[in-house]
């Protein structure tokens, strides 16, 4: 209705009024599209430069050298790249499993139970998210140096589990908080015991939240550079550390291939999950 009236009176409105209205209705979508272009520009570059040739001296280049599919057919030409990706995957999976488990348990305790020290628990969970990564990285390094714990994959894992916990707690807690408690009460009324209620009602309802938390934890862990860099020691190289180290002498195009694969892979996972959700709802 409102639209029809607006259209009818439009021609009679003064010009400047029509102009501001045009601007208003097109300004926000325009910004939205510009914002998306801004977000995707580097991805386009990463994808394009995965087809970049190497410089004659074999190094990678920031500027365009020539078209080549070499990087796609020989991803592991430098075995260190693939080893680094492997290390990152390994750390990512282990940190995700541990972080999601620990974080989910805390989220359940926070939403479902009464206990002493809730305030300080909340603060301890909030603080890691309000701490810059340099501070977390350097403080853990200070601890490992002071206690003479050797740096390596274990210290990196410890760090990754630590910083994923808070994000898992927040994500799962949000899902738990909007869960209608009457569903569980209904199950209990129908003689389900506590374990059955948890297994057949609570867990399936919270599962999307836990899955989202696990995905978040994995991407945080896989992409982490700063904290890892402080606590890795000389013996291990994760993928971001490899990129950092190779940046000084020119990033090889294979890095862009892996970047593109990660991007398309993650996009496919998310879109499939959305699609599956839609099918299920029908």
């Amino acid at each position: 209705m409102a639209i029809a009236i607006e259209k009818a009176t439009d021609a009679r409105l003064p010009l400047h009024y029509r102009f501001t209205r045009y601007l208003r209705s097109h300004f926000i979508p325009a910004i939205g599209i510009l914002g998306l272009i801004y977000l995707f520009l580097p991805i386009a570059v990463v994808f394009a430069f995965s087809f970049n040739d190497r410089l004659p001296n074999g190094r990678g280049s920031v500027s365009w050298v020539g078209f080549s599919t070499d990087a796609w057919t020989n991803i592991c030409v430098d075995p260190n790249i693939c080893r680094a990706v492997g290390t990152s995957l390994q750390i990512g999976v282990l940190a995700t499993l541990a972080g999601t488990l620990l974080g989910t348990m805390i989220a359940f305790a926070l939403v479902r139970h009464r206990f002493r020290g809730r305030q300080s628990t909340n603060l301890t969970i909030f603080l890691p998210m309000a701490t810059p990564e340099v501070v977390m990285g350097s403080s853990l390094l200070a601890l490992f140096l002071n206690t003479r714990i050797p740096l390596g994959i274990v210290t990196v894992l410890i760090a990754h589990i630590m910083f994923t916990i808070s994000f898992v707690v927040v994500t799962v807690k949000a899902r738990l908080a909007v869960l209608d408690p009457r569903l569980e009460q209904a199950a209990m009324d129908l003689y389900a015991d506590e374990r059955q209620t948890f297994r057949y009602i609570t867990l399936p309802l919270v599962a999307p939240g836990i899955a989202a938390a696990a995905l978040l934890a994995f991407s945080l862990s896989f992409d982490d550079f700063i904290i890892t860099y402080f606590n890795k020691g000389p013996s291990i190289t994760t993928f971001p550390v490899y990129v950092w180290a190779s940046a000084a002498r020119g990033v090889p195009p294979q890095v862009n291939v892996i970047g593109s694969l990660m991007f398309f892979g993650a996009l496919a996972v998310v879109l499939l999950a959305q699609l599956a959700g839609k099918v299920k709802r029908r």
């Binding site: 939205g32 991805i43 139970h113 200070a142 589990i161 990033v251």
Partner: protein, 302 residues
């Protein structure tokens, strides 16, 4: 910061909230809490203490290789801060600027997704997050290509005489630009989450009561979106202050931020200096965060 990630129930006037859950007492709570909390205490809280102790150590000889002994050398703080005050202030300046720019870009973007996108909403949200599946470092490195001196962007900007230094790379502009890019989703998502909860009828009501769109935005939309604005600005500002990747890859020695200093000091084994700087950064950020949360009146964020 629960709102950061999950869009919740819409704030409907007179809407029915789910009944309050009865919270149980008992030992289960501690069983659930202790493993995770112990992890956080051992590897987050105690390290901060360790960092503090390190920041007060005194050198055993001249030069960092001689090692350090525990002491209460408070001069470490005054020495470190007076030596690196430029980098310290610069970090807050760059991060502040990047946060404001992020807010300016994200608000219309989030508004568009929340109110205008219709059935494209979920797809758009995925698209906002998607670029961030491609590694942080690779993306920043891609900006190096885009902003290169002989690149398209710099050439165009130069032909319009927009750049005082005739280049973008290695200037503060490039660093702030990188910070804005890298932390944008941390602003868009919480903003979206709180905008999405606003009942559009409230905004319409403002218009019906003769509020101009600008006034409606100021008096209705922005106050209701405040939790998202606070969460978003914090999630952007905090990591941006400590970041050293953007400054390293896109900047120059003249754009060094405190993160770069802390990292190089650690690498050089100048542990007390690095620890003192790191601890000061943490302290300043905490003060900023808590005053900000208090002033914005969104204490439920904790």
């Amino acid at each position: 910061m629960a709102i950061a990630l999950t869009p919740g129930v819409p704030i409907a006037p007179g809407g029915e909230a789910p009944p309050e859950r009865v919270k149980r007492k008992g030992k289960t709570a501690y069983f659930l809490l202790i493993p995770g909390m112990a992890w956080l205490v051992f590897f987050f809280v105690i390290p901060l203490g360790s960092l503090f102790l390190t920041s007060l150590e005194r050198p055993l000889g001249s030069g960092p290789s001689a090692g350090y002994a525990s002491a209460l050398r408070w001069q470490n703080y005054t020495e470190a801060l007076s030596k690196y005050d430029t980098e310290f202030l610069r970090s807050f300046w760059y991060a502040g600027l990047a946060t404001i720019l992020c807010l300016i870009i994200s608000f219309p973007l989030a508004y568009f997704i929340a109110f205008r996108a219709g059935r494209w909403r979920n797809l758009l949200l995925v698209l906002i997050v998607a670029p961030f599946f491609c590694s942080f470092l690779i993306r920043t490195y891609a900006w190096k290509t885009i902003l290169a001196d002989d690149g398209f962007v710099t050439t165009v900007a130069n032909s319009l005489h927009l750049l005082p230094d005739d280049r973008i790379l290695a200037t503060p502009l490039a660093v702030v630009f990188g910070l804005v890019y890298n932390f944008l989703p941390f602003m868009v998502l919480p903003l979206y989450a709180s905008l999405e909860r606003i009942d559009p009828r409230l905004i319409e009501a403002a218009a019906d009561l003769y509020a101009r769109p600008w006034i409606g935005l100021q008096r209705v939309t922005i106050p209701l979106a405040m939790p998202g604005i606070v969460a978003g600005t914090l999630l952007t500002f905090i990591p941006a202050t400590g970041d050293f990747i953007n400054s390293q890859l896109l900047g120059s020695p003249r754009t060094r931020m405190i993160g770069n200093v802390i990292q190089t000091q650690f690498a050089r084994d100048a542990l007390p200096t690095a620890a003192a700087l790191s601890f000061s950064l943490m302290a300043v950020i905490l003060v900023v965060v808590f005053t900000y949360i208090r002033r914005a009146g969104t204490e439920e964020l904790l």
